[in-house]
Symmetry: C2
Subunit: 739 residues, 2 copies
Amino acid sequence: MRKLLIPAALLAAMTSQAQTRSISGFTENGVRQQQNLESTFDSYLRAANIDSGIRIMSSHPHHVGSPGDKVVVDYIYNQFKSWGYDTRIETFYVLFPTPKERLLEMTGPVPFKASLAERPLKEDPTTSQTDEQLPTYNCWSPDGDVTGDLVFVNYGIPEDYQRLERMGISVKGKIVIARYGHSWRGIKPKVAQERGAIGCIIYSDPKDDGYSQGDVYPKGAFKNEDGVQRGSVMDMPIYPGDPLTPNVGATKDAKRLDRKDAVTLLKIPVLPISYHDAQPLLAALEGPVAPEEWRGSLPITYHVGPGKATVHLKLAFNWDIKPINDVIATMKGSELPEEWVIRGNHHDGWVNGAADPISGQAALLEEARGIALLTKTGWKPKRTIIYCAWDGEEPGLLGSTEWVEEHASELQQKAVIYINSDENGRGFLEAAGSHALEPFMNEIAHDVIDPETNISLAERRHARELVNAADGGKLKASMFSKKALSLSALGAGSDYSPFIQHLGIPSLNLGFGGESPGGEYHSIYDSYEDFRHFKDPTFIYGVVLAKTAGRATLRMADAALLPFDFRSFYKAVGNYADEVMALADNLRESTALSNQLIKENGYAYAKDPTVRLQTPPIKEEVPYLSFASLQNALSALEKSTNRLADSLKRHPSGPRVQAINSAVYKAEQQLLSNNGLPRRPWYRHAIYAPGFYTGYGVKTLPGIREAIEQRNWKEAQEQIEIDAAVLTRFSDYLDKIVP
Amino acid sequence: MRKLLIPAALLAAMTSQAQTRSISGFTENGVRQQQNLESTFDSYLRAANIDSGIRIMSSHPHHVGSPGDKVVVDYIYNQFKSWGYDTRIETFYVLFPTPKERLLEMTGPVPFKASLAERPLKEDPTTSQTDEQLPTYNCWSPDGDVTGDLVFVNYGIPEDYQRLERMGISVKGKIVIARYGHSWRGIKPKVAQERGAIGCIIYSDPKDDGYSQGDVYPKGAFKNEDGVQRGSVMDMPIYPGDPLTPNVGATKDAKRLDRKDAVTLLKIPVLPISYHDAQPLLAALEGPVAPEEWRGSLPITYHVGPGKATVHLKLAFNWDIKPINDVIATMKGSELPEEWVIRGNHHDGWVNGAADPISGQAALLEEARGIALLTKTGWKPKRTIIYCAWDGEEPGLLGSTEWVEEHASELQQKAVIYINSDENGRGFLEAAGSHALEPFMNEIAHDVIDPETNISLAERRHARELVNAADGGKLKASMFSKKALSLSALGAGSDYSPFIQHLGIPSLNLGFGGESPGGEYHSIYDSYEDFRHFKDPTFIYGVVLAKTAGRATLRMADAALLPFDFRSFYKAVGNYADEVMALADNLRESTALSNQLIKENGYAYAKDPTVRLQTPPIKEEVPYLSFASLQNALSALEKSTNRLADSLKRHPSGPRVQAINSAVYKAEQQLLSNNGLPRRPWYRHAIYAPGFYTGYGVKTLPGIREAIEQRNWKEAQEQIEIDAAVLTRFSDYLDKIVP
């Protein structure tokens, strides 16, 4: 037999392929340098620093305007300074209400007064800092003093009210009690107010957030009977940031709205309570038994209400203007200082905020320290890196929104990317963002190793997805091969929102979770003690976050050719278009069937005559919408994205590259529509937005999707044309990048 | 234009069609007579009689062997006698254990002793008859005195143990606590025993049966904290009836097994408890938090266990032989006295049993009274009608099984049909039975009018199905036209079981429900007070049951040509064959995928390393089974059933008819397999059986289906051949009915 000889060159190539992965945007040489740089970076990162960072920054309550907030700001400022960053504090002046009076009581056979207090625990020292803590409240509730019947509205989302209507129950003139979950909290009072309610109580049911899920704090991680979720109820789906200064930075002398003209402020008082305080209120309700899906885990029969007892809710707030302090730390780019890679995490908490946001903030600082150390080796980033520690995220993305609004035009010129993080814990990589960055994030997710399993983040997440599918009986053979990480779309809920949705700056949101559940969120129990027991006891996922977001920052800062791949964007938006077309079709079919069932008396015949249950109303039939313009736009987009990708494969070099890069990172701005979304022009991105009735939850192709959901056919057709025009403009723009 | 003239004959036909429905098996003249007869019958029925019947028969506890049982027997006997039936009492002598000692306690930090008592209520007089009540217990539990760790096993069905295995928890040597639901209760101790447990506690969780569902008794219908579900835990999927006399009637001098040789008796002690008694036991458990689907509505964190405390369960019983009394009331057929239409309902209760079984028994008596009154008009049934009031159904279908075993050969000659009922309430017709009777039941369901909506039972049920589909988002246009009522297949759970499954006698089970939920089942709260408040306050559904089952009885008794249509049977069994083929295919695919996931370390990579969770074991790959013989048999069956139906359309008359009828009603006996089902030869029906691991729940094509579920491929192939042979024999038999 002849011996098989492998040519030396081929052998070298094979070895090289086995040893080094490619990194998009880097030359062959660049890849090796970058890998060395990242290895060095990794070697600097210390879990002990994450630990001490969380301990220090969460040692006292540090909400907006508090002494603790200033201590944290100074700590962060001094850290950046000490590592050589050009650091400054940018201060804005925002409206920020804090409680002056809180009263919730029930008259009736058994009078009851809610405690409205979270009990300090001897096992957790910082829970005793009562004087420094913000009381439990929903920020931006108006002052109010209302008395009325109580009605239980489940999660308080629109479909719950449809159910109430079928039960013949109106909330007009009543106080509603809703449970946390299934929507961003601000949606609950907003929908209640639209339906005529005069007050809103939000409680944490132990089924969703309490003893049903596991042992309660301090024995376990879950919400104990005293825990209360604070949080903002500003109508952020209209616009986030200071309610008095939409579209502009809330600088000292900015022009301010009158509070009564701020459309993001609700009109009815809202108060969050514990399940300990909720139980007597719910137990006093009468009326229909709540539908099965509405029932929580309290040891009572859940009724919808009202009952014999009357509820009295009285709230008053200090409506002060408070300073918020963003810490901005810059490392100037050596070659392209006017191209900015921005990396941020907020620093304000509702109370001590060890997990939210300090776990993310500590990881960001460790990452920044590592990158600063790299400069000692002689390395400098090509592009400018800017670290941002935002204030006032909790009340409504105040620090980031005001900063973005203040620097809008400069950011639209210079910002290559915004990379966000927030709360972090043990578990799996959760990545969301602009879909042109999906291949970029995939490379990173395959390069970073999970510390618990020693496989890549991407492989571990894929394993989780397969096991979830298997557990749900939905595993398919085709799933094994799809190891690529899908980016989720960005809704709202953290500081990326103004960057991507108002300015069209490509954004990512990164974090770890899935093995660190608990009930501490926005309570006094989100503490260092809680964190080190239940969230990330070895702080190793803080290090992994630093490695992951650090790689994103370093690669974006140094890439020769910016690693955007718009074919991934095309794929994502194509799927969204399929979804909205299916949504219209399904709605047409279900409407026709429902109307037929009503006309044929199906509901009347099926119902128990002893139970008061209304037949649903006949709905307007769903017309056929023309999606042709959108489909044609998508067809053009596919060609344009392929053509651009092919051009870039030919490795452009020289002065052309800078023009290409500049065009590439600004491309997403072409996805902003001229007038923004209907009734909320601050939101300009045509593809991604938080839902008008979901809050945090994203709506993709929001103009079209929400018009269909709201059965506004005229607007749906208009929005199809608008989005088609936006996508066509975007394709034209891409076509001109490489002439 | 020419005037359209409708010929007089056609006009007459149209009118006739509009006014009278056809009744299968009756001539045109016969239909009119039958309709008049049924109208007269309806006019005799009185809700007041149902009311008083329930009140009288439920006035005292009347379980097997009790003084109350004898009172009820005498009442029923006297009623039938007074209406002119040839009435007799048939007595059998059966083993029937009653509690002598019951102790359940927990040692440990907080010692606890279970109350094991249901509290009398001043609102409900019969609940105070404590001396006459059977204590709360599971009948057929052995004597036992066991002490051990406690483990929570959810519903205690096989898949729950697979989950426990993944959690690394064994029940070997432990006492298990299972919640009621998701299987017949007897399956829970049976599976626990197979897995090595030494005792079994069964409790009612308020999520499934208690305050989660609605207000508790006496304010509402649902189970209060003291309510306990008594019930049999005999291994009835092996055989029902007296454990000591399988296959033969338990007459005074029947040959009896030694108790230790009775395979339907379990070996580990079993006790049912209330949720009040269960809470301290469950709260003391430690170990893993129970999976989300396992958690009930008690205000605790559900752990799987074990805990630090030890549980002690001690039970002792009086193992007496007791008499049971079946009341058999006969109205002799005028033309075909040797063809029997049998109609039955049991009379024994666990306690007062107002709903179960007296609501059905009272309706049966009213029906029998109505039919007796018809004879005053000169009418006589062509065939013999036999009313049966069974004793000993609750402990294990004792009265019906012993009677069926005693009269087996006569029944196989003479029984045209067995029509069963049991508990009854407000709501919708629930009909199950031999599928050749589906068109027959449909005619009745279209002829009887629902009293709440004034449409037919079939139309109302169809409306309910449409609304359910709409509520679940599963309404399809094709559903509107399918107004036919589908018969469910018969599993076990009431007295039809020996008739159909042991002898192959065509059977029906009829009842109403769906608007009368509650938690009274097998407790002291199943009382007249409970019934008249929550089950059928106007007793009108008792009348509707009498109308429905009465029509079935009358039509079967008088039909010229017996109304069996085997095309419906073919359709049903064809669907079952499709299901078992899909089951094998799905199991093959899911096994291959699961094995691949295990081999690729998916479970290991996905798991939280701080949680003890085992990778599931590799399973044997599923081979392809040959279904060819079954498919060929079905193909022949389709032809045979169509051919027979075509022949019968030609209205055979004269002496041939009797031979045809006789062959038709005995046809189902051809579906008995020679050796019965594997490991349970008492069950001989090849198409319907209660599940070996579900109990009440039916398994269709049980030999094939259960072999596949148990991954016994050799047996699955054997059973395919057996069922194919049975169906082929059945087709051959049908082919010979009309030569």
